[in-house]
């Protein structure tokens, strides 16, 4: 049984959003299906408006009906939330469109996934590093001479494509500031690190080589 059941004191409190418990679906059904209850709801609204000196000229019962008729027209349905987000991105917020911020759930989870991938890649490569020691020593020297490209952080608000190396960049060299031997990566996932300057992985700096390094055998 609904709580309203002729008890308009409850309706009055609901109208004010002041009832101890929220109106349930059952309660709202009771209000919506009973013309007299809806009429009382409207009268409460009118009394408040009259007391506040709000415009009463538009007393026509056609106002609510007109709004309901317009929203019932084809094409007036409330669009799905994802569609709204897209519209907001395209049009900019005007109060009716949601703002999709960088802290949107999709981006938060993407950041977590990217971090995990980076950690795994770094770990795997660290395990492989003894076999590539000679190459890395040579590359360290080459990296110092090679033209470096500073990566601008990716704009957080736009891209969802998989990370790729920039055009013309064949590899990425990671060199530690403390003089630890640099490591070259040609795999795309590591490129994500370059796009995440807020998490520089313990002081590791990232450079992209525009040209592949020459291996020097007499590097010291």
């Amino acid at each position: 049984m609904d709580r309203l059941n002729g008890n308009e004191e409850v309706l009055s409190a609901w109208f004010d959003d002041e009832y101890a418990e929220p109106a349930t679906d059952l309660d709202l059904e009771a209000i919506l299906r009973d013309p007299n209850t809806r009429s009382t709801w409207g009268t409460y609204a009118l009394i408040g408006a009259a007391l506040r000196g709000e415009p009463l000229a538009t007393l026509s019962d056609g106002f609510v009906a007109a709004v309901l008729q317009r929203i019932a027209e084809p094409g007036s349905e409330a669009p799905p939330q994802r569609e709204l987000a897209r519209l907001a991105d395209a049009a900019g917020g005007d109060g009716t469109t949601p703002v999709t911020a960088a802290n949107d759930a999709w981006w938060r989870w993407s950041a977590v996934a990217a971090t995990l991938v980076a950690v795994v890649v770094t770990g795997v490569l660290a395990l492989q590093s003894p076999r590539e020691a000679g190459v890395r020593v040579a590359e360290r020297e080459m990296a110092l001479r090679a033209e470096s490209v500073a990566f601008a952080p990716a704009a957080m608000g736009g891209q969802r494509r998989l990370p790729t190396l920039p055009m013309g960049v064949r590899s990425v060299v990671v060199a530690a500031d403390a003089g630890v031997q640099p490591v070259r990566f040609t795999s795309a996932p590591f490129y994500m690190l370059a796009h995440n300057p807020a998490q520089p992985m313990g002081g590791v700096t990232v450079r992209a080589l525009a040209t592949p390094p020459r291996v020097s055998t007499n590097a010291r």
């Binding site: 009832y19 418990e21 109106a23 679906d25 408040g48 415009p55 409330a78």
Partner: protein, 228 residues
């Protein structure tokens, strides 16, 4: 006793000050349980639930818009437009603020956008008119309204009836509903101000409304088939 007119004047001053502050115009209601439940239903596709929200807030929206736009016909059109926009964006409402706070921003932006486009039209029309006739005019002046004498009379009658009904209310009922409708206090705050339990406040406000509604009903009789 503070009269209704004095309280209303104070309320108007507060509202006028708030409108000029635009986005900080309304205080969030700390609890918006019924509104939240209604919004949830609207988001689930219940258009009738949106009707209750429209009924509840239409005059506040009209009042807000009328601070910026002075033609009553335009005010009503813009109020409708604001509600349509709100409906279409309802899935974006996440309940982080009160529903009316969100609606307020939409209505304010709707009115502002209208003013911007009206000003553009005035500029264009003025230029054209000046070119054609050597003089300009202001489109915003002298706009017709769709107010009929009957509607104006009815609204005046309602205002008078409410005022008369308020004057006849017992002091505690009058104070309770004034604090609610004019001061916008929560039941809890009213209970504190009046030194009584919240349940008593709830009862007083309801009794005040019912007493006023009894006086109003003859004026508002609407055939059931014309009700939304």
């Amino acid at each position: 006793m503070v009269s209704i007119r004095a309280r209303r004047a104070a309320y108007n001053a507060r509202m006028a000050a708030n409108t000029s502050k635009t986005d900080r115009g309304v205080q969030d209601t700390p609890r918006a349980l019924t509104d939240a439940a209604l919004v949830a239903r609207v988001q689930a596709g219940d258009q009738a639930a949106f009707g209750l929200l429209v009924e509840k807030y239409r005059r506040r929206v009209e009042r807000l818009i009328s601070r910026l736009v002075h033609d009553p016909a335009e005010v009503e059109d813009l109020a409708q437009e604001a509600f349509i926009k709100a409906y279409r964006a309802i899935n974006a409402f996440r309940g982080e603020s009160a529903f009316y706070t969100w609606l307020y921003r939409i209505a304010l932006n709707t009115a502002k956008n209208h003013l911007v486009s009206a000003k553009r039209e005035v500029t264009t029309a003025s230029t054209t008119q000046a070119n054609d006739e050597g003089e300009s005019f202001d489109l915003l002046d002298g706009q017709g309204t769709d107010e009929t004498p009957e509607r104006l009379l009815l609204s005046q009658e309602i205002a008078r009836t409410v005022e008369a009904a308020m004057a006849e209310l017992p002091e505690e009922l009058r104070t309770a509903i004034q604090l609610r409708e004019l001061e916008g206090l929560s039941y809890e705050a009213i209970a504190e101000a009046m030194g009584c339990p919240i349940g008593t406040v709830r009862s007083r406000i309801f009794r005040a409304r019912e007493a006023i509604a009894r006086r109003l009903r003859p004026l508002l009789e609407t055939p059931p088939d014309r009700r939304w």
